[in-house]
């Protein structure tokens, strides 16, 4: 019910069509990684999935935003089935909840820039994606470019405005033999940028 309202509202305001250019929607275990410019990113990517895949494709969301208010927390945990992570201050390895959920067979949606940017093209990626790619080589890594979200709901704004947004899904990639961390992260970033 709440999921239907959120999806209806999202479609009415920002559209949010998913364009599967490099692969098709699949129940295969995957990590979708995308550029990050808006709180709507999580919802758009999740809404672009076919309904039957949504429960198993879990967005990774920052606990300091999505875990804060009661409404955000409810949406994050009950509707989006999100994996909440601590971005700062935690002494424990922040990747642990992600590893747990991958081991349980779920797919993930992550934003490797770590924070929302104002520019159209993604900033450099943080190392988490590399560690996950290294530890779970059988999981497909799918680059996604989210277009127009920085205009529809930019950082620092209160309400989204009706500007049509699109999620473009690229071809799956994997960590190459002998590839170093910076090489891999730059290749992943370029893969997202190539869809812009």
């Amino acid at each position: 019910m709440i999921a239907a309202i959120i999806i209806g509202l999202t479609r009415f305001l920002v559209g949010g069509t998913g364009l599967w250019l490099g692969c098709s929607p699949s129940a295969r275990q995957r990590i979708y990684f995308a550029n990050h410019s808006s709180h709507l990113d999580t919802i758009i990517l999740w809404a672009a999935m076919p309904p039957d895949l949504r429960r198993r494709v879990r967005p990774v969301a920052a606990a300091d935003y999505w875990g804060k208010g009661r409404l955000q927390r409810y949406i994050a945990l009950k509707v989006l089935n999100a994996v909440l992570v601590e971005r700062k201050g935690g002494s424990a390895n922040p990747l642990v909840p992600l590893q747990d959920s991958l081991r349980a067979g779920d797919s993930l949606i992550i934003f490797p820039e770590g924070t929302r940017g104002l520019e159209r093209l993604p900033d450099s990626f943080k190392g988490g994606l590399y560690h996950l790619a290294h530890e779970f080589p059988e999981v497909e890594l799918v680059p996604v470019f989210l277009d127009n979200l920085r205009r529809a709901f930019p950082k620092g704004s209160l309400v989204p405005v009706p500007i049509s947004c699109i999620a473009r899904f690229g071809a799956p990639m994997a960590l190459a033999e002998g590839e170093t961390r910076p090489q891999f992260l730059e290749r992943a970033r370029a893969a997202v940028e190539a869809l812009a």
Partner: protein, 316 residues
Amino acid sequence: MIDLPAIEPMMLWLYAGVLGLLVVASLTGFILARRVTTDSGHETVRNLNSRIKAWWVMVLVFALAFVVGKGLTLVLFALVSFYCLREFLSLTPTHPRDHAAIAAAFYVFIPLQYWLLWIDWPAMLTILIPVYAFLLLPVLSVLWGVTDDFLARTAKIQWGLMLAVFCVSHAPALLLLDLGPHKPIYLLLFLITVVQLSDVLQYTVGKLFGRTRIAPHVSPSKTVEGFVGGGLLAVLVGTGLWWITPFSPLAAAAMAAAIVLAGFFGGLVLSAVKRSLGAKDWGAMIEGHGGALDRMDSVTFAAPLFYHLVNYFFAR
């Protein structure tokens, strides 16, 4: 004084005629879609069929608006404005720092413009966007301190608002006019019928007999033959509809000609705008569910002109 109830059975005939025309059009489109083999033929038939589909929606909307009244008509046109503005601003490269101005355009000026129609305040209706939005939107943008392309950014948002909200709202604004015994909703029907028929007849005649392109760089499908032939046919239909309006047959022909001309230039100008933004269709951005501006481009130019002509010559 004309006895209005006496015309009402004729309205039924009008509606029967429109429905009959739509059924014939849909069948023709359906058969054409199976017959054509060439790529350009497919493209043409797809274009025709998407128009026919849009007409079904328009006719159903009109039927509903007739029954339910002004409130529903306003809500529907407000939605049309919303979708047109969304399309326009999605294709226009605005800056993230224009967010406040865009939010005001959508959440303040669309409801306000249609609320003015609801409370019947035509004087404010004609200045809200050209004056107050014109002054307020740049103020909302300037507070963020980003001066790159400031004039161009502000102008684009104002243009979107003028076309999608100000101009489009002049179609339902016809409902505010006092035409004595004549119901203004028939004028809305007259406007939309002439504009849409003019569009499709120009397109069809152009495809059949078009040789001389009017503006090859702007809109390759517009030809002199199509414009003259399709335009004259649309004027003919408009003249034939004089009995649903307060116009004499001659005045109906002149009004239809004004609508055809304004609609033609509207299509041409919006085509140029679209191309300057690097797109072929307004709906291209929103695969599957777009193109509201492709259907409304001629209306945006024809509606304000028609409204003021009727207001000047026929309203009390």
